[in-house]
């Protein structure tokens, strides 16, 4: 189950690029967005060159082909995460929209709208609580803040321990009969921490709450099964998993999607429209207003095929090797502090760190000058950075196409940055 990384790299045209006057590209920013294999790019081309049409609405051959491509991607995505069937898969533009969709559906339920079969469990008011965590991405914080503001519900959150774990000791206090929904990341995009979703989901369900899992950082890197996790909703985003930009997935349990009021209104999500009222299609179409990212769905389908062919177990194993190797190597750098768990078995392929006396922006600039692309900043997890008393960190993140040699280039570049800024 080892990856033939050399062969995999050949699938990614961009990895041949040189940057900054002739440096070979060392791309260590896949947690931000992944690169795309030619299989995905070619699928987009094929769609636009041979099958492009709008879907569902058209009774001509191109329309049939485009619809088959789009609905085929839905079936593929459903299978990929163990959904009961494809009617549980809603396409969105990214995972951020998926999370907002659930938040707005709750807001709309609160405002009296319904999904057709009652929407009681989605209604919120003063006294009700939404629980998140301190390690969430802004996309899993801000929608809930806005929702609470609109409904009078209260936002609460799990703290994070010094070694980058959720502070589960708070669970009893946090998850109560007031909790309506618990939303948490499967894997932190900063710490790499893989959270005990099942454990928290079981507690949430026992308290009568729903569970939304932000799987943006896990679905691309390991086998994920919505049933095993005990999730009610789970989102992921195509561009981080070898797929195109412009599309994401929100999976939801069918009976919940049925109860939820619609979010965006428009063509395709309706059953019937009069000037003064409308009725809505069953899920998933109820949540897909307007012309969807059709070519992008075909591209996501190709990305899932690609990852499935390589094997997500193999991807995970490869990344564990790289993380172990990287943690060891980074451990030798004086003044370098890694955020998050030290054990490769309990963390994913993103490693964030700080360096004494050199600011992340400056580190990343020196690295970039050597062709090494990393991310510097708060990585859309500002509260988490505050928790550790820092403004920003530098993050190197790995994927199936990265190598140990690239880890060496990273460590090398960090040394250069230290020498460059260290002098006085």
């Amino acid at each position: 189950m080892t990856l033939d990384v050399a062969r995999i790299r050949k699938d990614f045209p961009i990895l041949d690029r040189q940057v900054r006057d002739g440096q070979p590209l060392v791309y260590l920013d896949s947690a931000n967005t992944s690169q795309k294999p030619r299989q995905v790019i070619e699928r987009l081309d094929d769609f636009y060159e041979r099958h492009n049409a709008n879907i569902h609405r058209a009774s001509h051959q191109l329309g049939e082909e485009a619809t088959a491509a789009y609905e085929g991607a839905r079936i593929k995505a459903a299978g990929f995460i163990g959904a009961r069937d494809e009617t549980e898969v809603v396409f969105t533009k990214n995972i951020s929209e998926g999370i907002n969709l659930v938040a707005y559906a709750m807001g709309n339920a609160t405002a009296g709208q319904s999904g057709g079969s009652g929407s009681g469990r989605f209604r919120l008011g003063p006294g009700d609580e939404i629980v998140i965590t301190e390690m969430e991405h802004h996309s899993n914080i801000v929608p809930w803040q806005l929702l609470c503001e609109r409904t009078g519900a209260t936002l609460r959150w799990f703290g994070v321990t010094d070694d980058g774990q959720l502070d589960l000791a708070q669970a009893g206090d946090l998850i109560t009969e007031r909790t309506k929904l618990v939303a948490l990341a499967h894997q932190s995009n900063v710490l790499g921490t893989i959270n005990p979703v099942r454990e928290i989901a079981d507690r949430a369900h026992a308290a009568g709450a729903l569970v939304l899992v932000d799987a943006a950082q896990s679905v691309p890197h390991m086998p994920v099964d919505v049933q095993g996790l005990g999730a009610d909703f789970l989102g992921f985003t195509s561009h981080k998993m070898c797929g195109p930009t412009g599309i994401g997935v929100l999976w939801g349990r069918r009976e919940l999607l049925e109860e939820m009021p619609p979010f965006l209104g428009g063509g395709e999500m309706i059953e019937s429209v009069w000037m003064d009222h409308s009725t809505f299609a069953p899920p998933p179409h109820k949540f897909e207003a307007g012309t969807m990212p059709i070519a992008e769905a075909a591209g996501l389908d190709a990305a899932i095929d690609y990852l499935t062919d390589v094997g997500l177990d193999a991807v995970r194993a490869h990344e564990r090797d790289l993380i172990g190797y990287a943690l060891d190597a980074l451990g030798t750098v004086p003044g370098l502090r890694v955020l998050g768990p030290a054990d490769p078995a309990t963390r994913g392929a993103a490693i964030s760190f700080t360096l004494e006396d050199v600011h992340p922006h400056d580190i990343s600039q020196v690295l970039d000058e050597h062709g090494v692309a990393v991310r510097a900043g708060h990585h859309c997890a500002w509260p988490l950075h505050r928790r550790y008393g820092i403004q920003a960190s530098t993050r190197a993140s790995f994927y199936l196409y990265n190598t140990r040699a690239e880890v060496d280039a990273l460590v090398d570049g960090i040394g250069q940055a230290q020498r460059f800024f260290g002098g006085d």
Binding site: H56, R57, A58, S59, G63, E64, T67, A68, I270, E271, S272, A281
Partner: protein, 151 residues
């Protein structure tokens, strides 16, 4: 030519001369279904009678606005199921659904589906499957309601 395999003469006949069309009284349940993709509509009434302990489809009457496929399908359906027991009719509905979802790979049994076999060609045109199913779905829904009310 492929057109003839889709629009078999039987279908065109039923389209031009639909059977059992028009809404009749009395009825046990009435439903209104639409095809949101094209706006086709059917209003359908069902009357059940309970002869031998098993409910029987005594009458199906309908008013339909739509394409030849949806109109003919409603006509063929009413032809097929009036007089059958509800379980028998449900079986036919299942069989017809299976045919529609077969992508044209299934050889339909005329013994069972009668004129319904003429719709085999529709299965190759995904956009038209909903047309062919409109009446059947309405009937299933109306029958479920009628049974519910009899409880």
């Amino acid at each position: 030519m492929r057109l003839e395999s889709l629009y078999q003469e039987v279908i065109l006949d039923h389209y031009r001369h639909p059977h059992h069309k028009g809404l009749r009284e009395p009825y046990d349940a009435e439903v209104h279904h639409v095809n949101p993709l094209c706006g086709d509509e059917v209003t359908l009434r069902v009357t059940l009678k309970d002869a031998t302990g098993e409910p029987v489809v005594a009458d199906v009457s309908y008013d339909a606005l739509g394409c030849s496929i949806s109109q003919a399908s409603a006509s063929v359906m009413s032809e097929l199921i009036i007089g059958k027991t509800v379980p028998e009719a449900m079986g036919l509905a299942e069989e017809f659904l299976r045919l529609m979802q077969s992508k044209g790979q299934l050889e339909p049994d005329e013994e069972i589906l009668g004129d319904g076999v003429a719709f085999a060609g529709v299965a190759k045109y995904p956009a038209r499957i909903k047309c062919a199913l409109l009446g059947w779905m309405a009937w299933k829904d109306a029958t479920a309601q009628a049974l519910e009310e009899q409880k």
